[in-house]
């Protein structure tokens, strides 16, 4: 950036810096610099010390600066397949949960959008309410239903449908149930927002022209609700992919989601450099593309 362009960008009234600087400085210190640190530490060696990583920059006894860094942490990510497996598992789990949320959420959003206006407000409140209550406690509530001695098993056993308790807790199925249960409201709300705005006269026109309802749905409603589908899917997919609580509480030993691997690397193995490398790679491979996609998506919508 040239000096001239910087001057041109400079706000005319200096008082405006009172608006800009506090949040900007806060976020630089507590958001940007921490990421820089993680990036830096991802090139350090793990050591048994406090903090448990080596300094990249060191001063040798004769007064020279030395820079030692290693790519071992990243090499480790590629060679130890637990990282690759958890990456794929996270992607697959988040993707499938998003699809399930869409399949359950779309009909619900559609039904709400078609309900009388007064009922819509109440139905929406009912959808939003669980989101305001504790996420952790709702996952816990689910545990009471699907655990080995939970209500579902007790009920099925009492009805004689099954003779031994179903093992749902601590399986990948439980992780899916947990994610869908927790994030369903995020799918319904944006879907409702687009479906509610949908022009009903288009469907009437289609019906007048003899289009069967299913075709009108596929050719009018579905394409027009695409923005809601995309927004809802991102709102489910993004938190699901980095999810820690659900795989940790409901999942089994094989539900290796990346969030859980990171947690263990940090708290159980105390390998901060490898955890930093996982975090950096995770950001570059997942969050980066999503952020870029969203950036262009919002530009498209604005245009």
């Amino acid at each position: 950036m040239t000096v001239a362009s910087l001057v041109a960008l400079w706000p005319r009234r200096p008082g405006r810096w009172l608006l800009i600087l506090p949040p900007l400085l806060f976020l630089v210190v507590f958001f940007l610099i921490p990421f820089g640190l993680a990036f830096k530490i991802s090139f350090a060696d793990a050591t048994i010390s406090i903090p448990p990583f080596s300094n990249l920059l060191s001063v040798t006894p004769d007064g020279h600066y030395g820079l030692t860094f290693t790519f071992d942490n990243y090499r480790y990510l590629v060679t130890d397949d637990v990282y690759l497996l958890s990456y794929i598992f996270s992607l697959r789990t988040a993707f499938l949960s998003t699809i399930i949320c869409l399949l359950i959420g779309y009909p619900m959003a559609y039904a709400i959008a078609r309900a009388p206006r007064s009922a819509q407000t109440i139905l929406l409140l009912l959808i939003i309410l669980p989101f305001w209550t504790s996420f952790l406690l709702r996952v816990y509530a689910l545990q009471g239903i699907i655990s080995e001695h939970g209500l579902l098993n007790n009920l099925l056993l009492a009805l004689g449908i099954i003779h031994a308790p179903l093992q749902i807790m601590h399986t990948t199925l439980a992780v899916y149930i947990g994610i869908v249960y927790s994030y369903l409201p995020f799918m319904i709300l944006p879907l409702y927002a687009t479906l509610e705005k949908l022009d009903g006269t288009l469907l009437e026109a289609a019906a007048d022209l003899g289009t069967p309802p299913w075709r009108a749905f596929l050719e009018i409603t579905l394409p027009l609700s695409m923005p809601g589908i995309i927004a809802g899917s991102l709102l489910v997919f993004i938190p699901a992919i980095g999810e820690f609580v659900i795989p940790a509480l409901l999942g089994g030993p094989d539900s290796l989601m990346i969030g859980r691997v990171l947690w263990d690397e940090f708290f159980a193995n105390h390998n901060w450099p490898v955890a930093s490398a996982v975090a950096t790679a995770f950001l570059l491979l997942l969050v980066g593309p999503i952020a870029i996609y969203q950036h262009y998506q919002s530009k498209d919508l604005a245009a």
């Binding site: 630089v28 619900m108 009922a119 995770f282």
Partner: protein, 279 residues
């Protein structure tokens, strides 16, 4: 799109979906009144677990810490978030605008666990270089919570601020008010519903945060979600049912009251505007 009556298919879909969302919570509340210590066997009605909860000092002190952190962090986040939203809405061009936009919205996309790790690295490095913060606890929790609550405050406040009529503020300034005074007395009341919902949203997220808190809290400073997590990890326990029921019911009542109050304020504002236009 409106129809006089819901087709039965729609009713079935909604009933099924809402049952899925609410059934586990209702079961949890029901079992919190179970006299039996075995969570799965109904032993009669009892409030014993609520009484036990009141004597559990670990849970009580964690709840207090969570509230202190939540109120302090969200209050700071509302101030910083409103400044950021005002900067983004009001100042068209400034160096760092792109950076501020990105950093303000990033916490919505970056997984909590990564934010948690990076913040811990920051606090550890700061302690090493500056000798501060010497202990991780209240202050590190507040700083960490501010940074993620801010994003949600900006998302709620920014559209409201963009929609606020600037002519009113300009009129005030023509009459001699300073820009600060015009903002405080004209625009701030207009955007106050967004500030309140931003504050409530931030508080909810702060009170519920487990992952980031676990990284930045030091030994001896456990927030409520951290205590709950360590207990729940061991399985279903009746006193946690009582705690969960209390939290869910309190939050539910709070949300309904807040929604009702905001609706009433909105209705009053619309009426006042109509009266002003008629008068």
């Amino acid at each position: 799109m409106m129809e006089a009556r819901l087709p039965w298919g729609h009713v079935a879909v909604l009933a099924g979906g809402l049952a899925f969302l609410y059934f586990p919570i209702l079961v949890l509340i029901a079992y919190s009144f179970n006299a039996s210590a075995l969570v799965t066997v109904w032993g009669g009605f009892s409030a014993i677990w609520y009484a036990r909860l009141l004597h559990n000092s670990q849970v009580l002190s964690a709840a207090l810490l969570s509230l202190e952190v939540g109120v302090a962090a969200t209050s700071c986040a509302v101030v910083l978030g409103t400044l950021a939203a005002a900067a983004l809405v009001r100042v068209r061009r400034f160096p760092g605008r792109f950076l501020l936009t990105g950093m303000v919205h990033a916490p919505l996309v970056v997984p909590e666990i990564i934010t948690g790790i990076t913040l811990l690295l920051l606090f550890v490095s700061m302690a090493q270089i500056f000798g501060w913060p010497r202990h991780r606890g209240y202050i590190t929790l507040v700083l960490a919570h501010i940074s993620f609550c801010m994003a949600y405050v900006v998302v709620t406040v920014q559209p409201r601020l963009a929609g606020a009529d600037r002519a009113l503020e300009e009129a005030a300034m023509d009459l001699g008010a300073s820009p600060l005074r015009a903002f405080m007395e004209i625009t701030l009341p207009i955007i106050s519903p967004a500030l309140i919902s931003g504050w409530l949203l931030g508080l909810t997220l702060s009170l519920d945060d487990l992952v980031i808190s676990s990284f930045v809290a030091g030994p001896g400073s456990s927030t409520l979600p951290m205590v709950i997590y360590s207990k729940v990890k061991l399985g279903v326990s009746p006193d946690m049912n009582a705690l969960a029921s209390l939290v869910i019911v309190l939050v539910g009542i709070g949300v309904c009251c807040a929604g009702w109050l905001m609706r009433r304020a909105e209705v009053r504002r619309v009426k006042e505007r109509q009266l002003a236009e008629q008068g």
